[in-house]
C-alpha cells in the first residue's frame, strides 16, 4: 500500500491521491503551469496524469457550480473510465450537483464537463448514451412500471420498446405484468423502476444518485451486483452514496466529496484504512473505569483520557482496532465489567471532516 500526498503520477489502483483545495485565486495561478500544481486538484485527476488511460469516459476539469451565493461545487477535477466509481460524501457535499453536471441537467459556472467526448448539456445525442437514476422520488404516478420504462424505451427509439422494457424490469426484479400504477409502489419498487428506465437503452454511462435508498438488504445486494456487472462489461458506472459500507461494495474506486470539494480519490480500501488510522474518540463505561484507562494508557492503547464521573471516561486512541482488542483484554485481566464502549466520532461526517482537515 502506498500513499501519495502530492498526487500520484503512476496512478496505481490502490493509491489515494489527496487533494488540497486551493482558493480560486490560487487555482487560477496553478492553471498556468506553476510547479506547485503538484497539489492542485487537476493533478489529482487521473485524466491529467501522465500515462493515464485514454479511455476516460468522463472528464471534469476545474468545475465550479454556484447557485446565487451558495457554492455547491468548488474547483473539482477528476476523470472516470470504465468500471464502477463511487462518489462518496455526506449530505450537501455536492454529489448530486456533480451528477447533474455529468448529465447536462445543469451547466458549470466555471470549468468544463466532457462525457464520452461531448458536452452533455447541448449534445443531444449524448442523452441516448447516458442513463440516470435521479434522487427525487416522484415519477409519473399514473403509469405502471412497464409503461414508465417503455416510455423511456420509446423516446430512445429502441426497435422493440416493449421487450426492452420487460428486460430492464426483469433485471431489477420488477414484474412487467404488474398493472398497479407507480403511485402504489413502495420506495424500493420506485427505486428499481428508476434503475430500469436508466438501463433500458443499454447506456455507456450510467449515473446513479443514491440508488439504494429504500431498498431491503437483498435488493441492495442484487443492485450492487448489477452495478458491478455493468462496470465489468465496460460501462462507466458512477454511483453516489453517503453510506460508507454501501460504497465498499460498489467497487474499488472512490471519489470523496466534502463541502463541494473533491477531498480524495482512489482505492476504497486505502481510504478506509486511513479512516481507521485516524484518531478516534471513544466513550468507555465500566465499574472500574479508572483502573481500565490507567492500564490502557500504560500499554499505549490510548493517548488521552477525560474522566466523566466514577464510571465513565472518554479516551482518544490512534488505533481503534488495537484499542478494541486491548480494552477487552484489560477488562478481563482486572475483572472489570464493561458497560459501554461507544465510538463518538464514527459517523461519516466526522470521517469526512478529518479527511478535509488532514
Amino acid at each position: 500500500m502506498s500513499w501519495d500526498i502530492e498526487g500520484d503520477p503512476g496512478g496505481g489502483d490502490d493509491v489515494v491521491a489527496w487533494v488540497q483545495v486551493p482558493a480560486p485565486a490560487e487555482s487560477a495561478t496553478l492553471d498556468e503551469g506553476s510547479p506547485s500544481t503538484a497539489r492542485s486538484p487537476r493533478h489529482a485527476a487521473p485524466g491529467r496524469r501522465p500515462g493515464a488511460p485514454v479511455a476516460d469516459r468522463i472528464v471534469v476539469d476545474g468545475v465550479s457550480k454556484w447557485f446565487g451565493d451558495v457554492v455547491a461545487v468548488s474547483d473539482v477535477s477528476f476523470a472516470v473510465g470504465p468500471g464502477v466509481t463511487a462518489l462518496l460524501g455526506p449530505n450537501g457535499a455536492g454529489k448530486s450537483t456533480i451528477l447533474r453536471l455529468l448529465c447536462g441537467l445543469t451547466v458549470p459556472s466555471r470549468g468544463t464537463v466532457r462525457v464520452l467526448g461531448g458536452e452533455p448539456r447541448h449534445d443531444l445525442s449524448l442523452a441516448g448514451r447516458i442513463g440516470l437514476v435521479p434522487q427525487q422520488e416522484t415519477l409519473f404516478e399514473g403509469l405502471s412500471a412497464l409503461e414508465f420504462v417503455r416510455f423511456a424505451a420509446v423516446l430512445h427509439q429502441l426497435p422493440d420498446p416493449d421487450a426492452a422494457a420487460r428486460r430492464a424490469l426483469a433485471i431489477v426484479e420488477l414484474d412487467g405484468d404488474e398493472r398497479r400504477p407507480i403511485s402504489g409502489f413502495s420506495k424500493g419498487m420506485r427505486q428499481r423502476a428508476k434503475v430500469a428506465q436508466a438501463i433500458v437503452h443499454d447506456p455507456e454511462v450510467v449515473v446513479l444518485d443514491e440508488p439504494l435508498t429504500g431498498l431491503d438488504p437483498r435488493q441492495r445486494l442484487h443492485l450492487i451486483s448489477l452495478f458491478q456487472r455493468l462496470g465489468a462489461e465496460g460501462r462507466c458506472v458512477i454511483v453516489s452514496s453517503h453510506v460508507l459500507d454501501e460504497v465498499e461494495r460498489f467497487g474499488s474506486r472512490v471519489l470523496v466529496m466534502v463541502q463541494g470539494r473533491l477531498a480524495a480519490e482512489g482505492d476504497f480500501h486505502a481510504i478506509r484504512d486511513l479512516m481507521d488510522d485516524r484518531p478516534h474518540r471513544i466513550r468507555v463505561r465500566s465499574d472500574q473505569v479508572r483502573v481500565l484507562v490507567t492500564r490502557l494508557l500504560d500499554r499505549g492503547a490510548v493517548v488521552g483520557v477525560r474522566l466523566e464521573g466514577d464510571t465513565a471516561a472518554v479516551v482518544d486512541t490512534l488505533d481503534a482496532a488495537r484499542f478494541r482488542r486491548e480494552v477487552a483484554a484489560v477488562a478481563h485481566e482486572e475483572g472489570a465489567r464493561l458497560d459501554e464502549v461507544t465510538p463518538l466520532d464514527d459517523d461519516l461526517e466526522s470521517v469526512f471532516r478529518y479527511l478535509v482537515e488532514r
Binding site: 451547466v107 409519473f140 403509469l143 420509446v154 423516446l155 414484474d175 412487467g176 405484468d177 398493472r179
Partner: protein, 254 residues
C-alpha cells in the same frame, strides 16, 4: 405465471399522451366542466324568459348582441383563460416542479418537441371542456348560428394564445397559477380595459374582435381588424412556445 397483458400504448406521440394523462385529473375536469355548466344555465336564462319559455327579446339582433356579450364576459374573459391556465401551466410546470421533467429531458428528443407536445396536450384537453360548453351556451342564448360559429372560432383562437402563454408561464415561474390569475384578472381584466390602445395588449381583445366580426355584433374593445385579429393570437402562441423551447434548453432541470 400470470398472462401478459399489453400495456396501453405510448408508442405514438408518447410525450403528448403522457402529458395529457398527467394534466387530466378528476378535480380539474369536474371543476371546469362545472364552470361550463354554469355558463350553459346562465345562457339558457338569458335566452329564455317568460312563463312559457318564450324569448324575452323578440328582436334577433338584440338576442345576438346579448348572447355575444355573455360569451365575451363569461367565456372569453373567464372560462377560456382560466381553463387554459389550469391545464397549460401544469403541462410543463408540474414536471418541472416535481422533478419528472428529467425523464423527458434526458432523452434524445428535441426540446421543441417536448414543448409542442405539452402545448398540444393542454389544448387537446381544454378544447372540449371549454369550447363545447361555450358553444352550447351560445346556442342556448338563441343568438343564432353566427353567434355559435363566432363563439367557437373566438374561443378556439383565444385558447391557442393562452395555451402558449401559460405553458411558458408554467415552465418559467413557480406558483404559475397565481401569476396566471393575476395576469387574467389584473392585466387583461383591469389594466387592458383602460382604452383601445391598452386593450390591444390583451388576448381577449382579439378573440372578442373575432366574435364580433363573425356574429356581426358591436362589442366594446373589439375593433381589431382582419387579419390581425386572427394572426396576433397565433403569433403570441408561437412566440411564447419558442421562448419556452429556448428556456427548456437553457434552464436547470431538477
Amino acid at each position: 405465471m400470470a398472462a401478459r397483458t399489453p400495456a396501453p400504448s405510448l408508442s405514438r406521440f408518447p410525450i403528448f399522451r403522457l402529458l395529457l394523462g398527467t394534466q387530466v385529473t378528476r378535480a380539474r375536469v369536474l371543476s371546469l366542466l362545472g364552470l361550463g355548466l354554469v355558463g350553459v344555465i346562465v345562457a339558457i336564462a338569458i335566452g329564455m324568459a317568460g312563463d312559457e319559455g318564450r324569448p324575452l327579446v323578440e328582436d334577433p339582433v338584440d338576442l345576438t348582441t346579448r348572447g355575444a356579450r355573455f360569451v365575451s364576459t363569461f367565456g372569453l374573459s373567464l372560462l377560456v383563460p382560466v381553463s387554459a391556465l389550469v391545464f397549460s401551466a401544469a403541462s410543463l410546470g408540474d414536471p418541472s416542479e416535481d422533478g419528472t421533467l428529467v425523464y423527458l429531458w434526458l432523452r434524445p428528443v428535441r426540446r421543441a418537441r417536448i414543448v409542442l407536445a405539452a402545448a398540444a396536450s393542454s389544448f387537446a384537453v381544454a378544447w372540449p371542456i371549454v369550447v363545447v360548453p361555450l358553444g352550447i351556451a351560445a346556442w342556448a342564448t338563441q343568438g343564432g348560428t353566427g353567434l355559435v360559429v363566432g363563439t367557437v372560432a373566438s374561443a378556439t383562437l383565444a385558447l391557442v394564445a393562452y395555451t402558449g402563454l401559460f405553458c411558458t408561464l408554467g415552465l418559467r415561474v413557480k406558483r404559475s397559477l397565481v401569476w396566471g390569475l393575476l395576469y387574467i384578472f389584473i392585466w387583461e381584466g383591469f389594466i387592458a380595459t383602460a382604452n383601445e390602445t391598452a386593450a390591444r395588449l390583451a388576448v381577449r381583445t382579439y378573440a372578442r374582435s373575432v366574435l364580433a366580426a363573425v356574429a356581426d355584433v358591436e362589442l366594446r374593445f373589439s375593433s381589431i381588424a382582419s387579419p390581425w385579429r386572427w394572426l396576433v393570437p397565433v403569433a403570441v402562441a408561437v412566440i411564447a412556445l419558442g421562448y419556452a423551447t429556448h428556456r427548456l434548453a437553457d434552464q436547470d432541470v431538477a
